[in-house]
């Protein structure tokens, strides 16, 4: 199916916070309480519409276990967006966010949009992390925040779509170099003809200087 843009996402966070369930809810609109442990990385895709444009989301659901961290890291580079998920009923998953964020920032491109997700909002009675805490963490680290429930589907659409909107806005602002696929963005087949018009600036004939080493 034709699309205007393709965005690559990753879902990260501790094991058991519901990453795979979020993906399944978003791609298949269903909830599966018993799920095999994710080994390495699983893949899902869905088409969404933003601003009247078809956008294909390719989503990589990563294993939360430490054992697979070496693989997960390979996916940071080349992703345009990340959903960083914790479980509102397990404080330790919230406490590990800093580590996740450091890992993500270190290995991803600097423009990657990160959305903080407090999952399992349906389990209000077992809540250990207040919504305000999530909001505060997001504010402090410049993330977008949302509480979701993969079980009831509450906010699941919004989480994925808002991340896409943010990426889309960054493209409009020219923050992302859409011709560099390492940014996790691809222009759809019908758009690629207008692709090459970026790359302004530089020192002109003094390109010897502009060439730079960074």
């Amino acid at each position: 199916m034709a699309y205007a843009y393709l965005f690559k996402y990753i879902i990260i966070g501790d094991t058991g916070v519901g990453k795979s369930c979020l993906l399944l809810q978003f791609t298949d609109k269903r909830f599966q309480p018993v799920h095999d442990l994710t080994i390495g990385v699983e893949f899902g895709a869905r088409m969404i519409t933003i601003d009247g444009k078809q956008i294909k989301l390719q989503i990589w659901d990563t294993a939360g276990q430490e054992a697979f961290r070496s693989i997960t890291r390979s996916y940071y580079r080349g992703a345009a967006g990340a959903l960083l998920v914790y479980d509102i009923t397990r404080r330790e998953t919230f406490n590990h966010l800093t580590t996740w964020l450091e890992d993500a920032r270190q290995h991803s491109n600097s423009n990657m949009v990160i959305m903080l997700i407090g999952n399992k909002s349906d389990l209000e009675s077992r809540r250990e992390v207040k919504k305000e805490e999530g909001e505060a963490f997001a504010r402090e680290h410049g993330l977008v925040f949302m509480e979701t429930s993969a079980k009831t589907a509450a906010n699941v659409e919004e989480a994925f779509i808002n991340t896409a909107k943010e990426i889309y806005e960054k493209i409009q602002e020219g923050v992302f170099d859409i011709n560099n696929e390492a940014n996790g963005i691809k222009i759809g087949p019908q758009h690629s003809a207008v692709g090459g018009a970026s790359g302004a600036g530089g020192a002109g004939a003094g390109g010897a200087a502009g060439g730079g080493c960074c």
């Binding site: 690559k8 893949f43 276990q65 996916y75 530089g202 020192a203 390109g207 200087a209 060439g211």
Partner: protein, 812 residues
């Protein structure tokens, strides 16, 4: 009444329970097992019914669910009765799965067997893989499936393997289960044990073992066949209780591995690297990465010494390299940005045919990215082995020929340059650099000489690509490679000489424009002087703006002179931009780039650069007007005699530490010529040829030199950036070379008809970066080179200034 009824029903229920109690979990488990056996006892092998249309999946699923459920109730990691039945081999459901996988009867059974095995490992927390009755059937299943490459169940096979890798990652001792003593010989793994055949009487598809490289080893007698590897907390198995080496997995034992030993897990993974299905390859890659990144030393040794994994990975890189079509445009190579992990999804894309060679290049660079990532993640022992293999089997055995072949040198160099740019692992960069510049004390390194001579060929494409390669070599420079390339000669400061240069040399060049009529000359000279005043004023403004007190320090006056020398190198009359509006832009760029170099070289064992101020100042001072007081100090310093005749840079920097406004140690007698080495010689030769070279070459050439000028090494700094350095007449320096080029240009440019107009329009066109301009044939190379030189001088001035400023800050 109701109460009584309810009591009555309770009593009835109890009575019923006594007569026929509800089945225990184990009984349920046995029931489903018997149903499976019944099915196979009565199975007609000619039946075409798919397994999904039978009850087998249901029974297997139930059995699995019972194990999952019982585990939830178990305390402290003990094994529940259902799993215990498997571990004790009372219910050999895993062996049955192996038989199903081997026979694939009913159709679809193999896939089911594999996914059931995988699910057991993924859904339970403690699947007892270290039990012989768990791991043996899994091994057997994997090996039997592996016998038929490219089978339709490849995906399920590699998933099972990857799951096992994950378990090994969590419990490293499990790796032993997949090494020689615990892996049975091939023949026994390829046949289904008789007791199982009786239970599941179907013919195995795998009958005649094909040639399988996994089992080249001759196994010793089958003494280990009954080796129990039962968990200590599990119940002892009656007939396997011999107990000596019974816990293969409690801890990862330090073992010396034999050359003939095998690491089955990795070997199996390797066989999937050649799958046509990219998802399968990706999974195999992930598995290799998981096992290789284990921190245990003995597992790393196992990987490098008992499996050909490094060799296989690098060989695959070499194969992919050789697939790159010869007619790929070298300029297309640079724009690729490939992450190995994402490739599998992209492959189906139509965009894969963007340009000639795109698919092959993508495949090659994604594999390189995998090698690089693996090297960053894996155990240091594996990284070292992999990088050595990379050098031997890829760089030396495969890539080097391309660089040496006149027909393919441009593409081969472009591909290699991109390789070096793309890699990030320290081991890889280090091997790569050593391959390029040589090791030890070998004075002449053939490959480096070849590259240098490639820069000097008549073939502009080769020159251009090789220059870009050198640019990358410097950017990715290791302490060793930068030393070999540029520092080894300048470290001795052999370029220094007592002889002061001619004071007015700089101005004299105006007199060379001998063809001009006297009056014209005077008029121009006037304008030149005005221009110089203007530039001086501008620099003054910038310096004050950047917080340098121009009137105060000596250093400030000297940096002023240095900046001036670069900015006034070309006569005003031929400047394309006499106003010099973009100085600040260059200063900002230089700041940024210099910071990169400071970070890049922060761990290098180089003398500190904080004495730029003094070095530059003192060397400048001696030949310019300067306060009397300093001269006295200078004279005092003249009494310093180095003990050793041969120059000792350490000593000289030691002196500089005292911050004497010193004269430089007398190093060169001035009679011997300084040998700048082949690399600088090449750069100077090309610089001198600037007026007659294409724009692109000049651009990359000057980019290399400006990178060298940024490098924070005191000797290199003064050699490149101090125009007032006292050198012997024959000693070549950057400034002398640039003066020579400027001289040539100021003679040749005015000969062009309407030269001012041509300069103006060429500048406009170059600045516009209009791609159409590149395609036009009527470029004025001479004028283009003038503009490159003009901008280059601004850049050098900015670099000198930024380094000076940095030194000041450090000194404060």
């Amino acid at each position: 009444m109701q109460k009584m009824l309810s009591r009555f029903s309770d009593v009835l229920q109890t009575a019923a329970d006594v007569l026929a109690p509800p089945p225990t979990r184990l009984e349920d488990f046995e029931y489903h097992w018997k149903m499976i056996l019944n099915f196979y006892q009565n199975y007609d092998e000619s039946s075409k019914v798919h397994i999904e249309d039978t009850r087998i999946p249901h029974h297997l699923h139930q059995m699995l669910q019972l194990i999952v459920d019982e585990e939830k109730e178990q305390q402290g990691g003990t094994v529940g009765p259902c799993l215990e039945a498997i571990v004790q081999h009372k219910i050999c459901v895993l062996d049955a799965l192996t038989a199903l996988a081997a026979a694939d009867r009913p159709p679809g059974a193999r896939s089911l067997a594999l996914t059931t095995g995988t699910a057991l490992l993924r859904r339970t927390r403690q699947p007892c893989v270290n039990s012989v009755h768990v791991y043996r059937p899994l091994q057997r299943m994997l090996i039997q499936c592996n016998e038929s490459p490219a089978s339709p169940t490849e995906k399920e096979e590699v998933e099972l393997l990857l799951t096992l890798c994950g378990l090994v990652r969590k419990e490293p001792g499990l790796a032993n289960v997949f090494t020689t003593p615990f892996v049975e010989d091939k023949a026994s793994l390829l046949s289904i044990p008789e007791d199982i055949q009786k239970l599941i009487p179907i013919k195995s598809k795998v009958q005649t073992p094909k040639h399988n490289t996994l089992f080249e080893v001759e196994f010793s007698s089958n003494t280990l066949r009954h080796m129990p590897i039962v968990r200590t907390n599990g119940p002892e198995d009656g007939n396997t209780g011999s107990g000596s080496a019974d816990d293969a997995s409690c801890k990862s034992q330090k073992t010396v591995y034999d050359d003939n030993d095998k690491f089955l897990l990795i070997d199996l993974l390797l066989s999937y690297l050649n799958s046509a299905d990219n998802q399968v390859v990706l999974r195999a890659c992930e598995g290799i990465m998981i096992v290789s990144s284990l921190p245990e030393d003995d597992i790393a040794n196992l990987v490098t010494s008992c499996s050909p994994v490094c060799e296989a990975i690098v060989d695959k890189l070499a194969v992919k390299y050789k697939c790159i079509p010869f007619n790929t445009e070298p300029t297309d190579v640079d724009n690729l940005n490939i992450t190995w992990a994402y490739l599998a999804q992209d492959y189906g894309d139509k965009a894969m045919n963007k340009f000639q060679g795109y698919r092959e290049l993508t495949s090659f660079y994604s594999w390189l990215d995998y090698c690089d990532t693996l090297m960053k993640e894996c155990h240091p022992t594996i990284a070292a082995h992999l990088s050595r293999t990379f050098r031997q089997s890829f760089l030396e055995a495969c890539a080097e020929a391309g660089v040496r072949s006149p027909r393919h040198a441009a593409l081969a160099t472009a591909v290699l340059a991109k390789c070096l740019r793309a890699v990030d692992a320290a081991d890889l960069i280090s091997e790569f650099s050593n391959w390029l510049v040589g090791e030890g004390e070998v004075p002449e390194w053939p490959l480096l000489h070849k590259l240098i001579s490639n820069c000097l060929t008549d073939n502009h494409d080769i020159t251009l690509e090789t220059l870009q390669f050198f640019q990358t070599i410097i950017e990715k420079g290791t302490e060793h490679s930068i030393h070999r390339l540029v520092l080894s000669r300048v470290c001795s400061r052999g370029y220094l000489s007592q002889q002061p240069p001619l004071e007015d040399e700089e101005r004299d060049r105006l007199n060379d424009v001998s063809l001009w009529r006297e009056r014209e000359r005077n008029r121009e000279a006037m304008q030149q002087l005005q221009h110089e005043d203007h530039v001086t004023e501008q620099i003054h403004d910038i310096l004050s703006h950047e917080g340098v007190d121009v009137t105060g320090q000596d250093g400030a006056q000297n940096i002023h002179k240095i900046v001036n020398s670069f900015l006034l190198l070309l006569p005003r009359a031929i400047l394309s931009d006499p106003v010099g509006a973009d100085y600040l832009h260059y200063i900002h760029d230089a700041h940024r780039h210099y910071q990169f170099w400071l970070d890049q070289t922060s761990t290098f064992n180089w003398p500190s650069e904080s004495n730029y101020v003094d070095t530059t100042a003192s060397s400048t001072h001696s030949y310019d007007s300067r306060p009397e007081a300093d001269i006295h100090l200078d004279e005092a310093f003249d009494n310093y005699k180095p003990d050793d005749k041969s120059p000792d840079p350490a000593a000289s920097f030691y002196i500089e530490k005292y911050n004497y406004p010193q004269k430089l140690p007398k190093v060169s007698t001035g009679d011997e010529d300084f040998d700048e080495g082949p690399f600088f010689r090449m750069l100077y030769k090309l610089l001198l040829n600037m007026p007659h070279q294409p724009y692109q070459i000049n651009l990359h050439l000057t980019a290399i030199v400006s990178k060298l000028a940024l490098i924070p090494h005191p000797n290199l700094h003064e050699y490149l950036l101090n125009p007032m350095l006292p050198t012997a007449k024959k000693t070549q320096t950057l400034f002398k070379v640039l003066q020579e080029v400027a001289r040539k240009l100021s003679v040749e440019i005015p000969r062009i008809k309407n030269y001012k107009k041509v300069i103006e329009s060429t500048r406009l066109q170059l600045m516009s970066e209009d791609p159409i301009y590149d395609e036009r044939g009527d470029h004025n190379q001479l004028v283009e080179s003038l503009i490159v030189l003009e901008e280059f001088c601004k850049e050098l001035a900015a670099i000198a200034f930024v380094k000076y400023q940095h030194a000041l800050q450090v000194a404060r």
